[in-house]
């Protein structure tokens, strides 16, 4: 059981990194007032760009940077459409996902099933070599790839940026009340561009992590809905980075459980009272297809609980989310 738990946690932590990157990026974007449903598409271009670059140059760090750059580039399209042209954020974001999917399917065909040497496993610099000895969680937390550690480090950095720096507070201001922010001298357009582009860079990093560290391969549509889970995760986390980390671990754990729970039999002995009721329910709950819906069910649950306990504002959604800003309007 110790081996099973350690393996499960290790798989959960590895699976969570992609959610951390993508959700942090989406939090920044939405905090600035721009919803971006194109996470999946930006992740895909990041994954392919990173993979192709690494395959050609052999340099996975360069690949990672190219992945971030391509994610940013795709986000620029979204920023232009939604901020400058003030078009619908929902439509533009979905278009971005479809565009990213289509482009990477076409340009990715040549890279399918190629092999690369991606990010190697390493222990956390300095202290990691001792900490991996901790039973059960040691390997999971302290032996990983470089992007896994970077993602973790970004959680406090993004938190500090949003809530403790002037720039971060300006981000929140344009997401909550762009008119007032504008009056206070904040350049709403520039700030929103910054947020969307940062979101794109993070999504690109999520994709590059997927192809360069997690899977070390490129495959058509390999994000397989993880971008959508990240969007759900932002709501789950109520737009807070530290909660996104918790959510990412939970979602990563659910991801890992889907595969690893198949090895364990929780069914009660047929002689046990209530076995006739409990076992079919357990079987349903543990069914892989049902399990794959848990991240979304968890998000719905958080929505319901929060709104019931507080009110809509308590949910934490930026007030000006989805609203294009234009100076002429008053």
């Amino acid at each position: 059981m110790v081996g099973f738990t350690a393996g499960l946690l290790d798989a959960a932590v590895r699976a969570s990194t992609v959610f951390i990157f993508a959700a942090l990026g989406e939090i920044i974007s939405e905090r600035g007032g721009v919803l971006n449903l194109g996470v999946e598409g930006m992740m895909l271009v990041g994954a392919l760009g990173g993979f192709a670059t690494t395959a050609v140059t052999g340099n996975y760090w360069l690949g990672f940077l190219v992945g971030m750059a391509l994610g940013t580039l795709l986000a620029l399209v979204h920023a232009f459409l939604c901020i400058t042209l003030k078009s619908s954020q929902v439509i533009s974001g979905i278009m971005l996902t479809l565009l990213g999917t289509g482009l990477t399917t076409f340009f990715g065909a040549a890279w399918v099933d190629r092999s690369i040497d991606g990010f190697p496993q390493m222990t956390l610099p300095l202290v990691g070599q001792y900490l991996v000895e901790i039973p059960i969680v040691g390997e999971a937390l302290f032996r990983s790839t470089a992007p896994d550690f970077i993602a973790l480090a970004l959680v406090p950095i993004v938190w500090w940026f949003l809530f403790r720096t002037n720039l971060g507070l300006e981000v929140i201001a344009v997401g909550e009340d762009p008119e007032t922010a504008d009056t206070m001298g904040v350049d709403v357009f520039k700030m929103r561009y910054l947020c969307v582009l940062l979101g794109g860079a993070f999504a690109g990093a999520a994709g590059a992590h997927l192809s360069l560290a997690f899977s070390q391969l490129w495959a058509t549509g390999m994000t397989a809905g993880r971008g959508w889970i990240a969007v759900a995760l932002v709501i789950f986390a109520q737009w807070r980075p530290e909660r996104a980390l918790v959510g990412a671990y939970i979602f990563g754990l659910l991801d890992a459980l889907q595969l690893r729970s198949q090895g364990i039999d929780l069914a009660l002995d047929a002689a046990t009272p209530l076995a006739g009721v409990v076992n079919p329910v357990l079987e349903l709950l543990m069914h892989p297809t049902i399990m794959s819906t848990y991240p979304y069910l968890a998000t719905i649950l958080v929505l319901v609980v929060t709104v019931v306990r507080f009110d809509e504002a308590g949910l934490g959604a930026p007030s000006a989310l989805l609203e294009p800003y234009s100076r002429e309007t008053d």
């Binding site: 081996g3 393996g7 798989a11 699976a15 399917t105 065909a109 040549a110 399918v112 099933d113 092999s115 997927l210 997690f214 899977s215 070390q216 391969l217 495959a219 058509t220 549509g221 390999m222 397989a224 991801d255 890992a256 889907q258 595969l259 690893r260 198949q262 090895g263 039999d265 079987e283 069914h287 892989p288 297809t289 794959s292």
Partner: protein, 365 residues
Amino acid sequence: MSTGITRRRAIKALGLAGATGLAGCSGSGDAATDEGEDGGSDGSDTVKAAFVYNSEVGDQGWSWAHEQGRQAVAEEYDWLETGHTEAVEPSEAKSVFEQYVQDDYDVVFGNTFGYMDTMVSVAEDSPDTLFEHCSGYETRENMGRYFGRMYQARYLAGIAAGMLTEADTLGYVAALPIAEVVRGINAFTLGARSVNEDVTTKVRWTNTWYDPPKEKEAATALVDEGVDVMAQHQDSAAAVQAAAEADIWATGYDAPMAEQGGDSYVTSPIWHWEEFYGPTLEAIHDGSWEADFYWEGLGDGIVGLSDWGPEVPEDVKSSVDDARSAIESGDTDVWADSKFADADDETLFQDMSSYVEGVEGSVPE
């Protein structure tokens, strides 16, 4: 062309709506004059064949294997014109099929189970066009179905796995719990147990045909549980790659996966769809085509094994070769020692929903 249409109408009017082998009529009857320029099914010696695939061709998986078959026959027959469409969802299939009918294709092949109902309805509306559906159970007068006894190749791969394993534990990354996949798991396990009765197989379901990161995670989970030979029924090579990284033996599927498997690659059960497409198109060409169910195996060459990995010992290769001859000659029946010994083809094909002895757990409902 106008005469063709007239004749078609006449045939319909006569109640011969099935029009089986209509394309063939042309071969024997009218002289081929237009060399397939706009090659309708009538008045031309050319056969126009359309291939509709459910996924991208480039993925080394299921549709790639079919595309290899299409390319082989397109090269072989100068009277053949082919067209193909990739990544067609079952929900979009109707319009794709109908377009091919409109463009006067003689036969439309569809390579996924999900096309079945759509193909039936288009076939019923288009009696002058022939249809062939892969992996389903419906036929019509102008619609046949086809598949291969991949389980025979799986059985051979299982023999290799059973001889190679030291932990006596095999891993199997499986897509969806349908009869086809369960059949493969069972045959693989029976093959392994035919040479090593202590073997058990652990199965992890990904519930998707294609999600390489997930396939890889499933394989990693199996490695953590101590399997030392990996098998997979997925559309990518991710499980093979995971096995190579963990330095355990791996068998692939659909395509040779030697590149991903590295030194510990064993072999892959693979398809040779041209062995079906070739004779079928010839039958259409000479007018002898009839709607039936094609389900052949190693003997026909429609399934087989890819080349061996670099480190596979000679005794494994020769044992597999012996078993292969025994299956081809009919001396060995894969299911003989299992609970499916008395099952007929229909049961094997459609109703296999439980594991044989040696597979851990049970098939998810």
